[in-house]
């Protein structure tokens, strides 16, 4: 049973860029133990919404609450420390660091005493353990020592997720984690999401409809900045306005 207070709740979020309304009065709840998928055509405002939830952009109006506490104007690093982890649509890994070092640097964000200049970062056991676990979770252990720039596209997408996991987030905001992945890699990431689900709240922005309908507990459909429909996969699949937005194609049909 999901808990009564949503892990992350957006109420009437609006974001304007000049005359363009990128996100228009969107309300959405992500609950602990759920995968909440966010779908919609390109330009629907999904990435803007993620950037609002992660604190990267400030909303023009509306509120965001983390476990019931208002996060008005919270900066990205503050939200990250409070447990909101995000991945980026474009792989955003440190190209000159190895996969392991990428994760260790990520884990380091949570450690106290960042000013202890005499302690070598490479000898930090806590962040090394977190990094090892995160790499194992996404199946990248064999590629630990490979530099970010030597990884394949799919491996970089997995490293994105591993870096996020290394910060031990309770809320995950995943911006198209499967984009450009091979089928085998996608399956592995979907399995990972299922394993992560019981302990976390997950917001998944994704274009791969088969994947979305396979893992999501709740689906929200956006178009032109506002919410078109929201509900269980079954309800969304049968929603007339959603079918229209997707040009009449039946979506996510088995």
């Amino acid at each position: 049973m999901p808990e009564p207070t949503p892990a992350l709740a957006a109420r009437n979020l609006t974001r304007r860029f000049g005359g363009v309304v990128a996100v228009d009065d969107v309300s959405l709840e992500v609950r602990h133990g759920q995968i909440h998928a966010l779908i919609g055509p390109n330009g629907a405002g999904k990435s803007t919404l993620i950037n609002l939830l992660a604190g990267e952009l400030a909303p023009t109006s509306g509120t965001i609450a983390l476990r019931g506490a208002s996060m008005a104007r919270a900066r990205p690093h503050r939200l990250a420390l409070l447990g909101v982890g995000r991945t980026f649509q474009r792989s955003n890994v440190f190209r000159n660091l190895s996969a392991f070092e990428n994760c260790r640097l990520a884990a380091q964000a949570r450690l106290p005493r960042a000013w202890a200049l005499h302690e070598r970062a490479s000898r930090c056991d806590v962040s090394a353990t977190a990094a090892t676990q995160a790499l194992a979770a996404v199946g990248l252990t064999a590629r630990s020592d490979a530099p970010g720039e030597a990884l394949s596209h799919g491996e970089r997408r997995e490293l994105e997720i591993a870096m996020c996991l290394a910060t031990e987030p309770s809320v995950l905001l995943l911006d198209e984690p499967l984009a450009g992945m091979a089928a085998e890699e996608s399956t592995r990431v979907l399995d990972l999401l299922r394993r992560l689900r019981p302990e976390r709240a997950i917001l998944l922005v994704e274009h791969d409809m088969d994947a979305v309908f396979a893992v999501a507990d709740v689906i929200t459909v956006m178009a032109d900045g506002s919410v078109l429909a929201s509900g269980t996969p079954e309800a969304v699949r049968n929603d007339a306005t959603v079918r229209e937005a997707y040009l009449g194609e039946p979506i996510g049909s088995p």
């Binding site: 690093h77 440190f94 000159n96 640097l105 949570r110 960042a114 302690e119």
Partner: protein, 319 residues
Amino acid sequence: MNAARRFLPLLALIALAVLPALAGKFYVELVAKIMIMAVFAMSLDLLVGVTGLVSLGHAAFFGLASYVVALAAPDPYTAANLWTSLPLAVAASAVLAFAIGALALRTRGVYFIMVTLALSQMVYFVFHDTKVGGGSDGTYLYAKPEAKLGGWSLVNFGDSTQFYYAMLFLLLLVFVFLRVLLASRFGHALAGIRSNEQRMRALGFNTYVYKLAAFTLAGAIAGLAGYFAAVQFGFVNPDMLSWQQSANVLLMVILGGLGNLFGAIVGAFAFILLEDLFSSLTKHWLLLMGGFVIMAVMLLPGGLTRAGDAWHAWRAHDA
């Protein structure tokens, strides 16, 4: 190549250690000056090469500490005590760097360059246009600070050789400190900010605080260099905190190679030795200097310390 990389710094250190026994007073004083500038350049490398913050106002912190040497002295013929005036000078530079950094770090990229330039020029004009520290003429310091421990004189800054070894010690001290810092979690976070600041914020790093800490620390180390520059030169004037001085030290770091501290040291040596060489050849030495810098940047984009890599890349390309 790897062996050379390991042994070259060691050979350079040995050469520096024996130089006063082999060279005359002129070169001992010149190399002492270069080592002071190398400390200054390393402090800027912490910003430009490590953190990715291009500051064009770094001389303000160097020059302010120089002025503290003059202002802390009771009169031009009596020097201030080293143990009080040095901490005072470094603290003054750190406070100024904190204040300028707090404002400038709210901007990014080319705006950051402009804001650091503008704020440091304000400091320049305070010393240039008011009577503080002798106005545009500056002040002479006829006495050197005394470094006494108990009743015993630790080092006599008036003696070229003793001053030289004190500066060699300072250079090593700052180099080792910064190398340890780069290997620490703080240093890794700074490197992460240079590489991808948005990513660091998303991971939970308060990048503004990290950058401000680096900026303040770099200012304090620049102050350390500025203090000893004033002690060696025996005078202070507004040129020491001018934007030309900021540009020169930036050139040293770029010339030597960014981000590894060795480059800052090599760049300081190359820059000042060439300045000395070219100015002995012709009055129009700035033309030669400019030509050299352009050639170096074109042919060795990684700086003098990465000349080996550039050579291998060129050979591989040719083959």
